[in-house]
């Protein structure tokens, strides 16, 4: 066995408890900066700079297809864009619809997610559980646009499996994407299909944190699965629930591809979620000032909702 060189063992030795911290001779004042710089630069260029640019743009008349705006140098207009957004009925209708969509999908995803997580947490059937865990990743790994295309096929009136399924239940075939309620239900179903596995995996991670001895002790104490869930397992799942609520809120606010491919926001305005609305203002009309104001308001909404979730649901596990 080779012995550790004298100088290396000195280097590896923890700093003396008393006296000033001693660093390697190559460690200078800027060393931490160099290590942190790549992450900060990337974060700044893809996160902070675009946000600051959007804030600046939201105070300007900034339509890149309007020559007058370009000639005027995209002039500063104060809070005009924000006033326009606040008085825009279409924006509020879309936001309300997005809220309705969120309330339709998230409770179902949570309920199904808990159910799946509990089933996967049960002892036994280890091979099947492993296969199920892997297959849960498939919807998550599917591109949003592809989910939309699959949705168009599933809900096709003539050859879609949705109508096939309904006919087995004795319900006459329906034109899902051609009527407002059907189209809304269709995008709800596709979102539940795609994101329930994510919720289930987060809950499963929470369940795996429950100490085995506590769970075993609880099983000896009670035969009620509900009591076990409520008093032993749920406290470990709550931090995950907060993460789910925050991530799903942000996701729903920016959910675009699937809905655009399936319905383009129609028929009428039945699936005109806020992301579709903002995209239209930003990249069809190219009114980047107005679209930025809308995006900033949505950012504020996301932050407020996140703080609210943390305040209400989050608690450290003792």
């Amino acid at each position: 066995m080779t012995s550790v060189p004298q100088n290396l063992s000195t280097r590896l030795a923890p700093p003396a408890a008393s006296g000033a911290r001693r660093h390697h001779p190559g460690y200078g004042r800027w060393t931490p900066f160099f290590f942190l710089a790549p992450a900060v630069i990337v974060l700044f260029s893809i996160g902070i700079y675009p946000t600051l640019f959007a804030i600046a743009t939201s105070f300007r008349r900034y339509n890149i297809t309007r020559r007058a705006d370009q000639q005027d140098g995209f002039p500063f207009v104060g809070f005009d864009n924000y006033f326009t957004v606040l008085h825009d009925r279409g924006f509020w209708d879309s936001l309300l619809l997005t809220g309705k969509f969120y309330l339709s999908v998230v409770p179902v995803q949570i309920a199904l997610g808990i159910l799946i997580a509990l089933m996967l947490h049960r002892p036994g059937w280890s091979l099947l559980r492993a296969i199920t865990r892997v297959s849960l990743v498939v919807p998550l790994a599917t591109t949003y646009a592809v989910v939309g295309l699959i949705g168009r096929l599933i809900f096709n009136r003539d050859f879609g499996v949705a109508n096939q399924f309904m006919s087995w239940l004795g319900v006459s075939s329906s034109d899902w994407l051609g009527n407002p309620t059907g189209a809304f239900l269709a995008i709800v179903v596709m979102d539940i299909w795609q994101w329930t596995p994510f919720v289930a995996l987060i809950f499963l991670a929470g369940l795996s944190m429950v100490p085995v001895e506590i769970e075993e002790a609880a099983r000896l104490e009670t035969k009620s699965p509900w009591a076990l869930l409520r008093y032993v397992q749920l406290p470990y799942m709550l931090p995950g629930l907060t993460a789910i609520l925050i991530l799903r809120s942000a996701d729903v606010l920016k959910l675009f591809d699937t809905v655009f491919v399936m319905t383009r926001g129609g028929p009428g305005a039945a699936t005109d979620l806020i992301s579709i609305y903002v995209q239209r203002v930003g990249f069809k009309v190219f009114d980047l000032g107005l679209a930025s104001a809308q995006a900033i308001l949505l950012l504020i909404l996301t932050i407020v909702l996140s703080r609210l979730y943390i305040h209400i649901f989050y608690q450290e596990i003792e």
Partner: protein
């Protein structure tokens, strides 16, 4: 000796005169490879769509690249993203050297100075084919697709006309030996006999998915033939006029002969409904002829027939659409010239036949006069008939159309669903559209009333 001199001089004079006066001779001297020699190795960039006309030119591209040494880079994008991609590229001084200009973008691209009028290049004999012959294009196409404010910017490349595609076997079974000549015929005579909801068979399908399909293919299609229009001469809404309302109400009435859920039909669904025998007639772009004749995508076979769109009380004013190619002003002078050579070649009479045979629809009139082309492609005659008369502003081509189209798409599909009446819908579109046009400066004389 003197005689010999005189004879030689006379011959020289005659030859020189002929060379100056005869464009065929000038043309013989101009050659694409020679003209392109200074631009060998230049790379030019353009956006293409995943449609037959683009697949056709891609097939022919190696010939151009071999002849000229110019490298054509193309990126295929969905139509829905093509404007967005180009606008962002042009406004950020990107790498595109050419613009693919949809009929409704010409005003926006030209007014923003993103594309160059062709006169900049036609004045340079070294890069302009003497056989360019702008008169060889259908005048309606050159006017609608390529011109704005009296100047030509682009040359018609991927050209469409709305046509009536129909299943003549279904019509025959219902007792009709020819297609409806008017919309009224279609509604009163043909549609009741061709509709049988129990068998899931319908007379007609009008693609009406929210988006440009709703605004251009569905909404505008019922305005013009009935004498209506989107705007009046002062650029105020004309949707409350008797004619416009008649057209919009006609669409509502006709819906009972269309498959349920037609509001969710894009082009693919409408074409498929005809191809699979679910509907007897559709009005679609000429470009879908290939899909409907391909046994892999259609079971129509010999039952497919094509006619011009039915006429309305105001005459036959079919949907008009298509794309021109224009040189981008952001390109370097070298790239601009190379791009101009490509555009001339891609839209030239020389390759028009090969382009049509590869699946494209040329804007050159002469190719459709060839008997074998007429015989082989059933869509040619009705399409040529449709291009004789039409309205370039079938959809307004000014920059505000993108915003207006979104409003029409939203309210237009609500009308079809019965969520709003044609009158209330027309009022809503009118108010929101006029608000946009006011901001654009059309009502205070800042902008010429040009559409």
């Amino acid at each position: 000796m003197r005689k010999w001199l005189l004879a030689t001089l006379s011959a020289l004079v005659i030859t020189a005169g002929a060379a100056v006066g005869d464009p065929t001779l000038a043309r013989a001297e101009w050659a694409l490879d020679k003209a392109a020699a200074p631009y060998k190795g230049t790379e030019i960039n353009i956006i293409f769509l995943d449609r037959p006309g683009y697949r056709a030119i891609i097939k022919l591209l190696p010939e151009f690249e071999k002849k000229t040494g110019i490298k054509v880079n193309y990126e295929i994008v969905p139509y829905e993203n093509s404007r967005e991609k180009q606008v962002l590229n042009f406004s950020s001084k990107g790498d595109l050297t050419m613009a693919l200009v949809d009929l409704v973008w010409i005003g926006e691209f030209a007014e923003n100075g993103w594309i160059v009028p062709i006169e900049k290049f036609t004045s340079d004999a070294s890069i302009t084919d003497p056989g360019l012959d702008l008169k060889g294009f259908f005048p309606l196409l050159l006017d609608a697709f390529g011109s704005w404010g009296g100047k030509v910017y682009g040359l018609p490349f991927d050209n469409y006309s709305g046509l009536l595609f129909y299943n003549k076997c279904m019509l025959k079974d219902a007792g009709f030996d020819k297609p409806p000549a008017t919309w009224q015929d279609l509604y009163t005579t043909y549609a009741p006999k061709l509709t049988n909801p129990e068998k899931k068979q319908y007379a007609f399908a009008l693609q009406s998915l929210r988006g440009e399909t709703q605004s251009a293919d569905s909404f505008m299609r019922v305005l013009w033939p009935f004498g209506g229009s989107l705007l009046d001469k002062t650029f105020h809404s004309n949707l409350m006029s008797k004619e416009s309302q008649t057209g919009l109400k006609f669409r509502q009435d006709l819906m009972k002969y269309m498959p349920p859920g037609v509001v969710s039909y894009d082009h693919v669904e409408a074409v498929n409904a005809l191809a699979q025998g679910q509907v007897a007639m559709i009005t679609e772009w000429s470009a879908f002829y290939g899909t409907l004749t391909d046994p892999k995508t259609s079971k129509l076979g010999d039952c497919l027939a094509v006619a011009p769109e039915p006429a309305g009380p105001a005459g036959r004013l079919p949907a008009l659409g298509g794309f021109s190619l224009a040189v981008a002003s952001q390109a370097s002078p070298q790239q601009q010239k190379a791009s101009w050579l490509f555009i001339q070649w891609a839209t030239s009479e020389d390759i028009a036949r090969a382009y049509v045979e590869a699946g494209g629809v040329s804007g050159r009139s002469s190719v459709y006069e060839q008997a074998d082309i007429k015989a082989k492609y059933k869509f040619v005659e009705p399409m040529v008939a449709s291009w004789q008369k039409g309205v370039p502003e079938f959809r307004p081509r000014f920059p505000a159309w993108a915003a207006i189209s979104e409003i029409v798409a939203e309210v237009g599909s609500k009308m079809m669903l019965g969520e709003v009446s044609t009158e209330d819908g027309a009022k809503q579109i009118g108010a929101r559209m006029e608000d946009i046009l006011k901001k654009e400066g059309y009502y205070d004389g800042k902008k010429a009333l040009r559409q």
